[in-house]
Subunit: 689 residues, 2 copies
């Protein structure tokens, strides 16, 4: 034992020299050259811009930089004009954004040319699913940075303020300009006077960074918090209650952003409880917010246990209301029709609601994509959604263009991302999960960026050697070849790998239990509503597998505009990535590869596992280029990632094999677990975090 | 849930049609053709021979077979002469053995030629480490078939008798003619009058099969059971007590075999407690047994915590006693100098004790080779030991020839195997563990048989299709090509695979805790005697690894006869399979492969894991040729086998890497577990069975 302990100590001392916790995110301090800054104004935000320049300037020592607020019609909103000589913008925030971009260019060794950068979406908003007690729904990175339980839960400490400022800075650096501080499954207490004082403190800390504060509200707050007999949106007292509450909020937070509402969804109260429509409910709130410039983000995530196909329901419920919403209501639509699955086709509401503002809701936290255990870079998934063509105004009517105001008139445009942020030292639980926060911000600013570009930027910012080593290491090409290139490759392949080992070919929602981590294609406790159980989604039987959403089935295909509807309707033309989403097909169905559907499924699962094995190799080879702490933490996560990918493969193949009784092709690696055992570890999954 | 349950049922019905439990071992009933048998005598044993012939005859229908007891000097002991026309022998048992061989030839489609078969060892003995309460030390196949706890523990039921007969038949079919019924860590109660009545019942059941009964005895039985003040072997009362006890035993069991004694070993009492030598202790018992033809098997498995090298101790303690033992004492020596490790060089006592009978002790139960979880065919290990050249009487002085009476005069020759038998339906826990019982018997009968031959026989007997299918299946070559050949290949490689993923290159005894299943190179609880902890054996430090047993170290090498001593002493000539057994070498030591020692270790561990992965493929491909039950049970074991091989690799590489700080070569698969976690699962291992 002596020997071992001794060794550990030696080890630790030697390796920890360069350790990084990851807390600095993509904003790692690397020293700076002196710089002269000329600024055309003075304000808290501009001070931040100056400060960032001075502590981060990597350009020529003694160079001059001008920060100039000067109206320019080619610059939109908080956009900016970048030049080697400095930054020009219409707003202070534009200046700050420009400064971050300028420093980013320096740090990533990219040239600074004269160019204008305007945001794709006006409101780029994080949604925190943080509860008043500090827990975070679907949070895998520790407790809330905003809320906590205990006797001092509402006290604002210096530590709180410092953390909120760091959070504000991180968001500003990637263009995020709004944050919803609490869970969409909202507590009415959020709107209490005491709570609002804490909200004000947060808003004050974030304001210089241009991050506006929003709140999720519970639709029944007038009754629950206000003591009214009803929360009927057409009731005069209710209307009055909301108006007064909004006024109270704005008196504390003059730039308050607005409300996010989850209504008549998964047990949450809503206008339908009083016989009113979503439009009536949303408009009532919108009217209260309008005088102050606030907006309502009203979620379309609705489904009931009666409908035969959950995928159809948001469309069915919201399309009839198109045109009935106020102009400061935006319908917040999840990227896919079900629920943040590893892969879904885009929601048919995008582009379909032509007289209503619609905003995409993406999920940064990896609820269905491996929590903070698996390395899954989400930008490729979001790129896939945003660039999907809805055909709603002819070819090229991408989801991005259908929601950013290009194709349809929207008073406000917005995009939301469900945050993956907590009190963990590295903010996101997994060092590579930071890339998803980063990518959301970058895509929200510029929906045309590629996953590759964003990954490249993020890796350079997050892992490149510090200033002293930069020139040698980066210029020699050694770092690029041995670290950047393979690690980027790993990131870019990681989401497809997850799809492969979790649910390839259009399979979806075959998770165990309620934790949405491990596999549970068998999960169906007695009495549970069918649409909360995997067999509802995979429909596996002796003959085949998949959910029939064709015209012969639930006809979800017809919620899409032609030519998509017909394309999806026919298995011969349906993209294979969506095959089992739209079709129930025989196990022997012949795939484009020439394999049967069952064999193809087996190979996909296998390839997912092998990809993760490859990721382990890539990361281990990268060891010389990473500080010891982050190297070891990621290495450990990848080990678990591999084991869990293996479990996914084994569980799904062995489970489905029970139905089809076909052999797993003999040239792939055999399952290494018994189905019986895997079916018993549900509980383990739910306690893994 | 409904769907799933339904599927299970369908599955079970369809697959169980051909299910076999494995209880029939290598003696599966396959129907028979009529046969005429002429027999030269009448007895219980000869009746069995007739019965076997009639129920198992696969030759020409209506053929005649003669069984003839007729003295022939070329036939030794219970040997036999085989011919197409029948069996000739000196003894009834010889006839029975001949009949089993004749039937075996028919079932395995091998020709029957005129030939004589004589046993290599006169006494071919199983050692059961069964406790009076029915538990089995190092038993992984259920409780004892001889003993049980509870109020009816000594009652002999019909079920008991039937099981003992099945056991006797199985042993007779492979030539085993003795069995020690109880643990070498013996309870004095074994010799009580009540217990002896049960022993008599067992002996009666086994007698017709030619299986003699032996008992392990506790050296201090005179005091503990007899109430004497001492158990000093030179004390007259003690001598008298043993004489009386032996007489009592023989009055019940006239053909009783004798005693097995573990004395002054691991806390067991022995003659040294009274200042006497092993010889004095053993001789006292031998004198009591001599009038009845009984023998003493006295174990040389001794070591103390004081010695610097456990591997040297049996030799150091027993060599000075050479020539002092009675001729009915046989020193029972484990195959290697330490303790049934996956690989050890042979014990230097073999061939060295020239004036004392010595018998090898092999371990059939897989204490250190994966229990009944891992598929490890042990014949290659035993073949390796038995064919090792001791050089004690010049080249060719193999361990086999040094112990079977060929090289040295021995009044008795014997070989022991620690049994792997319990109440499990398939007797051995793992279907393939039956092959080890089988191989022990076959090697004890004919130490010149190859592992390949034995595996071939066993597979044909254990898995070949039943009579109706035999001709077509076997003659078509399909079964041979797709089942026999790959499965045999798997068996023949399995022990080397285990060495690779557990302890390659001469590493030994790096098991966790006391269960001897999982890895524990770190295992060293505070206060535990060093020679019970792995660091004592692997000696890993920053510079290197291995136990220095050279002349510069413990000098265990000089216990071997030249040229071995010098060969082992020099790393350049020491076989690499024993390298770290005899040498402490730098991590960078250059191996014959050109790799460094560390890299070579990594590749060995990796190759072990990959071999098990290959075994899984072999077995899965064999599915069409095996009944559903045995297929599924072996498949499940192989899955766990794979997972545990992976754990071995990860644990050992990550643990040793702490010392040397060298990378694991990047072209091998990465560890998928964290060392920290693996170090916590000791307890899991000990409860795995």
């Amino acid at each position: 034992m002596r020997i071992i302990v001794g060794t550990f100590i030696v080890c630790f001392v030697a390796l920890s020299a360069k350790a990084e916790t990851g807390h600095e995110l993509w904003l790692r301090h690397r020293g700076a050259n002196p710089v002269k800054v000329v600024c055309s104004g003075e304000s808290a935000t501009l001070s931040l811009a100056l400060h960032e320049l001075r502590q981060g300037w990597q350009g020529e020592a003694g160079a001059s930089v001008a920060l100039e607020i000067r109206p320019d019609k080619s610059i939109k909103g908080d956009g900016y004009k970048l030049a080697a000589s400095g930054v020009q913008a219409n707003t202070e925030l534009g200046i700050l954004y420009g400064v971050y971009e300028l420093l980013r260019r320096q740090q990533t060794l990219r040239p600074i040319q004269d160019e204008i950068s305007n945001p794709s979406y006006e409101r780029r908003v994080l949604n925190h699913w943080d509860n008043p007690d500090g827990s975070v729904e679907r949070g895998y990175a520790g407790h809330s940075i905003f809320w906590r339980s205990g006797t001092d839960s509402l006290a604002v400490t210096e530590k709180d303020r410092a953390l909120w400022q760091e959070y504000g800075r991180a968001n500003a650096s990637i263009g995020i300009n709004g944050t919803v501080l609490n869970n969409v499954n909202a507590s009415p207490e959020t709107l209490s006077g005491e709570s609002l004082i804490r909200v004000k403190a947060i808003a004050d800390a974030l304001r210089p960074y241009g991050v506006k504060t929003y709140l999720s509200v519970k639709f029944s707050s007038p009754s629950l918090l206000g003591g009214l007999k009803t929360s009927d949106p057409l009731d005069a007292q209710v209307v009055q209650w909301w108006k007064a509450k909004v006024k109270e909020i704005y008196s504390l937070i003059p730039d308050f952003g607005g409300f996010l509402v989850k209504a008549n969804s998964e047990g949450q109260p809503g206008p339908q409880d009083y016989g009113r429509t979503h439009a009536q409910g949303a408009n009532m709130m919108a009217d209260a917010l309008k005088p102050f410039g606030g907006i309502v983000m009203w979620r379309a995530f609705v489904y009931s246990s009666e409908d035969k196909d959950r995928a159809r329901q948001a469309y069915s419920e919201f399309m009839p209301l198109d045109g009935q919403f106020r102009d400061n209501v935006i319908i917040q639509v999840k990227n896919g029709p079900i629920d943040f699955q590893p892969r879904e086709p885009f929601s048919p509401l995008f582009g379909a609601m032509k007289k209503t503002s619609v905003m995409p809701e993406l999920q940064i936290t990896q609820e269905y994509l491996g929590h903070s255990i698996q390395l899954v870079y989400l930008a490729p998934m979001w790129e896939e959604t945003l660039q999907s063509d809805t055909y709603q105004k002819g070819p090229g009517s991408t989801v991005a263009r259908s929601t950013d105001g290009t194709l349809f008139p929207q008073k406000y445009s917005a995009i939301a991302g469900v945050a993956n942020i907590g009190l963990d030292a590295n903010w996101c639980g997994h060092h590579f999960a930071q890339a998803n926060w980063y990518a959301f911000g970058r895509l929200a600013w510029n929906s045309g960026l590629t996953s590759d570009t964003i990954a490249d930027e993020w890796i350079r910012l997050t892992f490149s050697p510090n200033q002293k080593e930069t020139l040698n290491a980066l210029k020699s090409g050694d770092w690029t070849k041995n670290f950047l290139t393979p690690v980027k490759e790993m990131m870019l392949r990681s989401r497809e790998a997850a799809v492969n080992y979790m649910m390839p070919l259009g399979l979806h929602h075959i998770f165990a239990g309620t934790h949405h981590y491990g596999p549970g294609p068998w999960y169906a406790p007695k009495g549970m509503r069918p649409d909360w159980t995997p067999p509802y989604y995979h429909q596996a039987d002796a003959l085949g597998i998949g959910f029939d959403r064709t015209r012969a089935g639930s006809n979800a295909v017809d919620q899409y505009r032609e030519p998509l509807a017909s394309q999806f309707n026919d298995p011969a033309t349906c993209p294979e990535i969506y095959l089992l989403w739209f079709h129930h097909l025989p196990w022997t169905y012949r795939m484009k590869s020439g394999r049967t559907l069952w064999d193809e499924l087996c190979y996909r699962y296998e390839s997912g596992v092998l990809q993760v094995r490859q990721f382990q190799k890539i990361w281990d080879r990268a060891e010389p280029y990473v500080d010891a702490q982050r190297f070891a933490e990621v290495q450990s996560k990848l080990r678990r990632h591999y084991r869990d990918a293996q479990i996914w493969k084994d569980a799904c193949l062995l489970y489905f094999q029970q139905f089809n009784r076909l052999p797993i092709p003999y040239d792939i690696e055999r399952p290494v677990n018994d189905l019986e055992d895997l079916m018993k570890i549900d509980l383990k999954w739910s306690h893994h975090n």
